[in-house]
Symmetry: C2
Subunit: 494 residues, 2 copies
Amino acid sequence: MAKTKKAPRPRADTPKGFRDYFGTEVDARKSMLDQIAAVYHRYGFDALESSAVETVEALGKFLPDIDRPNEGVFAWQEDDAGGKGDWLALRYDLTAPLARVYAQHRNDLPTPYRRYAMGPVWRNEKPGPGRFRQFYQCDADTVGSASMAADAEICAMLADTLEAVGIPRGDYVIRINNRKVLNGVLETMGLTDETRRDAVLRTIDKFDKVGEAGVRELLGKGRLDASGAYIDGVGLSDAEAAPVLNFLTARRADNAATLLQLMVAVGDSAKGAEGIAELQEMSRLLAAQGYDEDRIIIDPSVVRGLGYYTGPVFEAELTFDILDEKGRKRQFGSVAGGGRYDDLVKRFTGQSVPATGISIGVDRLLAALMAKGRMQGVARGPVIVTVMDRDRMGDYQAMVAELRSAGIRAEVYLGNPKNFGNQLKYADKRHSPVAVIQGTDEAARGVVQIKDLVLGAKIAESASLEEWKSQPAQREVARADLVDEVTRLLSQDG
Amino acid sequence: MAKTKKAPRPRADTPKGFRDYFGTEVDARKSMLDQIAAVYHRYGFDALESSAVETVEALGKFLPDIDRPNEGVFAWQEDDAGGKGDWLALRYDLTAPLARVYAQHRNDLPTPYRRYAMGPVWRNEKPGPGRFRQFYQCDADTVGSASMAADAEICAMLADTLEAVGIPRGDYVIRINNRKVLNGVLETMGLTDETRRDAVLRTIDKFDKVGEAGVRELLGKGRLDASGAYIDGVGLSDAEAAPVLNFLTARRADNAATLLQLMVAVGDSAKGAEGIAELQEMSRLLAAQGYDEDRIIIDPSVVRGLGYYTGPVFEAELTFDILDEKGRKRQFGSVAGGGRYDDLVKRFTGQSVPATGISIGVDRLLAALMAKGRMQGVARGPVIVTVMDRDRMGDYQAMVAELRSAGIRAEVYLGNPKNFGNQLKYADKRHSPVAVIQGTDEAARGVVQIKDLVLGAKIAESASLEEWKSQPAQREVARADLVDEVTRLLSQDG
């Protein structure tokens, strides 16, 4: 008889580039985001949760007349009899949706509109190690204010936020700069040729990596990079390149001195002078609130990509050392960035609306907190009430109910209770601090055994057989004392 | 000269069936979900945040060889040179992803695995009034335990959850039933004909709507419905229909009495007896933890759809009256439901894995809390520091910094300060309780004006011109007393 061909079983896998988050991973991120939201809220920012799905048209990256407009985003076409349905897509950041929301609801929203948003975004990109196609963003923006006070506020809030999540003062610095200053420098250099101008901009963006000497070479004749390849230079003379280097190295210990350096770098460019005035204003406002150069400092080497921003730009950097995967010390680096972008809503309404904002790299900041030991990788699991006698499940349930009423995380073992070893293995897998045991004998005597699994694990690691046998990690107490004894043990374990 | 044809501006709209959530809407939902998560956590459930995107294959509703398998879900095909990319889709609930996660990670997860999940799901359905294509679900499930203790625990946890979010005891009831009992009833009736059997099941599902008399008619000759249409009956005699009616009306005030009624209804069906034993066991376990019939009661009229569940089913109902859109009193009804479904993981692994769980209707529960006045629709906005003198922005920023340091939500006005009326309008739109005002004169004298906007609004509603002029809602205090005075006002407003 021919075998019936069965449908193959589906693979139990996330799609490529997607992942799941379990227990402590979810809790740690949530706890960090809650702390961030509390600061944002205190600053008067309102939560916004926009739809995860937008029309491709509103996202603005793609035109709906292209056959499959899903490069970079996950997109699909709405079902429609005539095949003329809208193209929809998952949002790829939280800024494009903010533009759409503000344009749509601007008559109902306050102006200025301060909003924060936290949530997943999706990118249709080639996944790689540590590069996922769904990840969290956490943004705060002020829409509708051209005032430098808005930018200063964002920077102050960012400093408060980092301290609130557990990065102490001294372990971070927020570096601010202004695009207009950079444009002033280019103006002063008389760089009119687009190609050369872009080449200079690309070079500036490499300052963090190659340093002053590297940039000097790249602006001039070229440079042999670490891999041995020769990178062609822009071909400027030393004199021509000087304003760029003056600009990039203008940072001094105090903002006033830095601004003096920048004045030299921009020469007589009006654009440049405007940028310097804006930096001066931000610096003044921040100082008035007590944010000095130890927390927020003008640093002209901050560029943050090349398009997009139109005025102030900011970046938060963690300054403590961590060990990289090869055991070498290196600085943790950037965890947040942002700036002013003044054409957010224009696409929709034709009206220019000023806006400024910040985006925190949720995963990087979490990694930083883990590296600093401010966030526990493994949290304590629940107290486990074991099942010695299947018929007395009601008694065990009553025990966990009592423990929970006292605010203690507790559960009864719900697997097959036959093999007691499996119950203890389960408790171990759950990182349980305490197991509660009551067999028929204990029940008859009105007592329970309470096993300190934290102490037990320590003893198992180091104790001799004799010590092990004496089982100091297990204690018999009266049933009525169950909650008190467990509470005592938990507070002891911290 | 011919006008250049410009690309039309994109519409600033969410896609049909999608919406945004603002400020208080986000906060209220988050606060409710946090309360729910705290209870789940105390019961030993672990958070799980699975990928929002799954392969269509893993979701299991559709086969990837159909041309556009996006009926019911939002789906798209992965880019791939040969057009052979996987079909991906947004999850349409949190249960199908749980099955995939458990199958994928079963060697690393504890067994039983208790998990909760909260987040948006997406349905590619025709949107309608109040029907959205993205909405929140909030689920808790125990995978890998066949014990009735798992089902009892879910019901107890649901009761605790409802009380934790603000539904007092007496305002809700959790009704439990068991599918095996229903199957036992059908067995006892000797209903072997598929068509008739399905017709009986469909009729049973209408009990909530048409009541006992209605079901009797529908099982028999048929029934004239409210719209005047005649609905054909199943054609059973009164004697044949009796077990169904005995079953549906078996609920008594105490579970023991109900179980006796059910024993009559299932006759000598072994299946039915098994279901009754399961209900008995749940009832016993719940009573042992103090959950009596005032909170969790056996009610055979709970059916919860017709496929899917294999044993216990549960439903949480709010029993208080609300007024419907026509001003008629009606019961609020169901806010959560669930049950046991034992073939969750089998599709992936071939192994049967028992599971039971609950899903809370997030939007319905929120609506219930709003209706009960337990959740405020409009929260208090931030304190607004107004800008009387643009050059003194630093001073105003220092004021908000002080207020925030004292934990007070506060912001400086960041719009164009020229028109003071606009600043007060803004404060109004923000639901601000207090405005702080300091002009040049006040600054010189070292004072600030503090305007109680809550009291001001009350006066504006009811006061005479004379009273209004005396402006008791505005007070001048020393600059140094700013924080104290604002704190006093806020505590006064509650």
